[in-house]
């Protein structure tokens, strides 16, 4: 995962509340067992003129030349609600999105962002609205700064501070892999299991899988 420290980039507003992960990437656009190849499905229901088509809908914000090169999304309340599908975050990342700024996030979506190098910035709705107003006259010229080391969003003279728990911040700043981090505590994990087997033996006494069905010819 690439580290994230500072970004100055074009931001685009999708401010409606409850943008769900099926809107971010419709299920029908998840065509293979893969974390990649998803970018064409991003916002497919809004981005194209027809379901399943690829004719750009000129009304959709990311299709407008003023928002070319967008790397920051301004979102509404409960952004990323619905299905847990991480494909929504993979598709955003593949498109180039590195920051989503919204008043609130679905918890699963937020966790998925952190694990894929996208910074989920929570700001009050009024601040997100101010940012949208700031960029509106000229999104290419009026870019937004996201400074993860200072935990600040800056837009012209406006400065907004945000909070991110240090675990998430460190992972994003350093581009860390969670599994590698956790396996440093392997001794603690093993010790826990030894203790826990005595206290809750029933958790560990499952029979070995035997019911695996052979594929039909």
């Amino acid at each position: 995962m690439e580290p994230f420290r500072f970004l100055r980039a074009v931001a685009a507003p999708i401010l409606r509340a409850n943008v769900d992960t099926d809107a971010i990437i419709p299920s029908r656009e998840m065509k293979s067992v893969s974390k990649t190849g998803l970018v064409d499905g991003l916002f497919a229901g809004w981005r194209y003129t027809e379901i399943g088509g690829r004719e750009p809908n000129p009304e959709f914000v990311l299709n407008q030349p003023a928002y070319a090169g967008t790397k920051i999304l301004l979102g509404g309340e409960n952004f990323g609600c619905g299905s847990s599908r991480e494909h929504a975050v993979w598709a955003l990342h593949e498109y180039g999105i590195r920051v989503v700024i919204a008043p609130s996030f679905s918890p699963i979506f937020r966790g998925n962002c952190v694990r894929n190098g996208i910074v989920p910035v929570t700001l009050p709705a009024e601040s997100v609205a101010q940012l949208a107003e700031f960029i509106a006259p000229d999104p290419q010229a009026r870019q937004i700064d996201v400074d993860l080391e200072a935990c600040q969003v800056r837009a012209g003279v406006h400065v907004y501070s945000f909070e991110l728990e240090s675990e998430a911040r460190e992972m994003l700043l350093e581009g860390l892999d969670g599994i590698d981090l956790t396996l440093k505590h392997r001794a603690d994990i093993d010790a826990f299991v030894v203790r826990d087997r005595l206290q809750r033996p029933w958790i560990y006494s499952l029979v070995t899988p035997t019911n695996v069905e052979k594929p039909r010819a």
Binding site: R16, N18, D20, S27, R28, V33, G82, S83, V212, R216
Partner: protein
């Protein structure tokens, strides 16, 4: 003498008993007891893990089912109506076999929706941590478990390490006081909660559902209640286990047996919030006068009693912009009685409402009645075990005689994956959990309700308070 212990919440107990180590600022390494995967999002986790050369730490505690895009038509195989779906099924099977985990395959008699089969088979247990890359994993909290939905990368982490790095949620208790009126259900309770406190009302919290109306619920209804904690934006929901929980689990395929069972039950008795335990937030809802609920808009918080009308914006609990967008999508106007809305389709199924008790209650309404002309009606049991049990009681015949399709189990048309769907601008009454735009098909209009309401509406051809058919006193 020791000082009296500080009263602890159920979350405290679940958290402490799984604490491997603190990682600072409220984040901890938490041991994971059970991992469930399905072919839609679990497949990519298994594949990615394999690509990085990491083994599954303990395959005996990992389970996988085919539920999301598997066909629900008779004699189904690996072919799917969803374009490209076969690859997900085949690759999931291969990865599950290679990893040596439990698999409930397409033609397994125990196959079903993950959150239906996990309790049914005694995989989720009180006091256990359960994760699945599926947002409705909170359903399983009804068994007294700490169960929550994660992404695929976190699933990889859990598979490889037997743990997750978790930010400790805040605690909320939702107390449902009073007794539910006849025919009003757990589905109506959860819709009423989200309508009153909003679709972000639970954000940041682990929600404990409690109070006499919750204690009175049977286990299957508790699963329905906890199912929609994710629509409340909560990290999860759960219910303290009690004698009903233990009786439900006794003798289930993966539940402990013998001395271990006795030891487990004794330990599970302590899984409740102590008297005087302090929660970060408390909500109280009196259910004595609760009505069957129905959604009018495109968020689960857009729910009102079935006899109400489409609310004015000021009463809708939503912004002017979201309100007008929802009305436009649903083709509604303020003040229109919900019961006047004609429907094109009715769907009974999903991890919310597809268990035997759900089907029995719907069948009770359908017995001797017929679905209205022009209404497409579908019932999809939540598991093959539910289907078999329903057929043993003759419920399948009741559904068929009424004009319902009777399917094999799976998630089916709860969501649109590119295969089967309801038509554009069709109005569907559905026992599912999400009424988002295009959730059940492009431009499809979904109204969420209990199975009773779905069955009765299918019969009369418009949304209806089912008690008008059954003649119950209102």
């Amino acid at each position: 003498m020791t000082a009296p212990a500080t009263p602890r919440t159920l979350l405290d107990k679940l958290w402490t008993s799984h604490l491997v180590r603190e990682l600072g600022e409220g984040v901890a390494l938490i041991a994971i007891d059970r991992i469930f995967l399905h072919e839609r999002t679990g497949s990519v986790a298994l594949k990615s893990l394999k690509d990085t050369g990491r083994p599954v730490l303990d395959p005996s505690r990992v389970f996988c089912t085919m539920d999301h895009i598997v066909d629900t038509t008779p004699d189904r195989g690996d072919a799917t109506r969803m374009p490209g779906g076969t690859a997900f099924i085949v690759e999931t099977r291969e990865a599950a076999q290679a990893a040596g985990i439990h698999l409930f395959d397409v033609r397994d008699p125990l196959q079903g929706i993950v959150h239906v089969i996990s309790p049914e088979l005694g995989i989720v247990l009180p006091g256990a941590t359960v994760v699945c890359p599926d947002s409705h994993t909170c359903t399983q909290g009804a068994m007294g478990a700490f169960a929550w939905g994660i992404g695929s990368t976190e699933a990889e982490h859990a598979l490889a390490t037997g743990t997750l790095r978790v930010k400790r949620p805040k605690t909320m208790r939702v107390r449902f006081e009073g007794a539910l009126p006849e025919g009003v259900t757990a589905k109506d309770m959860t819709l009423a909660l989200i309508a009153a406190h909003g679709s972000v009302g639970g954000n940041g919290y682990a929600v404990e559902y409690a109070g006499p109306a919750v204690e009175a619920l049977e286990i299957e209804a508790r699963l329905t209640l906890c199912n929609m904690a994710t629509e409340f934006s909560a990290v999860t929901g759960f219910i303290a286990p009690d004698a009903k929980t233990f009786e439900y689990l006794r003798g289930r395929a993966h539940a402990p047996v013998g001395a271990e069972w006795e030891q487990a039950v004794e330990s599970w008795q302590a899984l409740r919030s102590d008297d005087g335990a302090v929660f970060d937030k408390e909500i109280v809802i009196d259910v004595s006068n609760l009505s069957p609920m129905i959604t009018w808009g495109t968020s689960p918080q857009h729910a009102v009693p079935i006899r109400a009308s489409v609310p004015a914006q000021a009463e809708s609990g939503t912004t002017a912009e979201a309100y007008s967008r929802a009305l436009q999508y649903m083709d509604l106007k303020p003040g229109v009685p919900l019961e006047s809305l004609k429907i094109d389709a009715a769907f009974i199924g999903s991890c919310t409402n597809s268990r035997l008790s759900d089907l029995r209650r719907a069948a009770h309404i359908l017995r001797g009645r017929r679905v209205a002309a022009g209404v497409r009606a579908i019932c999809v049991p939540g598991s093959m075990s539910v289907k078999k049990a329903a057929e043993a009681e003759g419920l399948d015949q009741v559904f068929r005689d009424a004009g319902f399709e009777w399917r094999e189990s799976g998630c089916s048309m709860c969501f649109f994956a590119g295969g089967e769907s309801f038509g554009k601008q069709e109005r569907v009454v559905s026992s599912t959990n999400r009424n988002f735009e295009s959730r059940q098909g492009p431009e499809t209009r979904s109204h969420l309700a209990s199975p009773e309401t779905v069955a009765a509406s299918a019969v009369v051809g418009h949304l209806v308070d089912f008690r008008r058919l059954t003649g119950e006193v209102i």
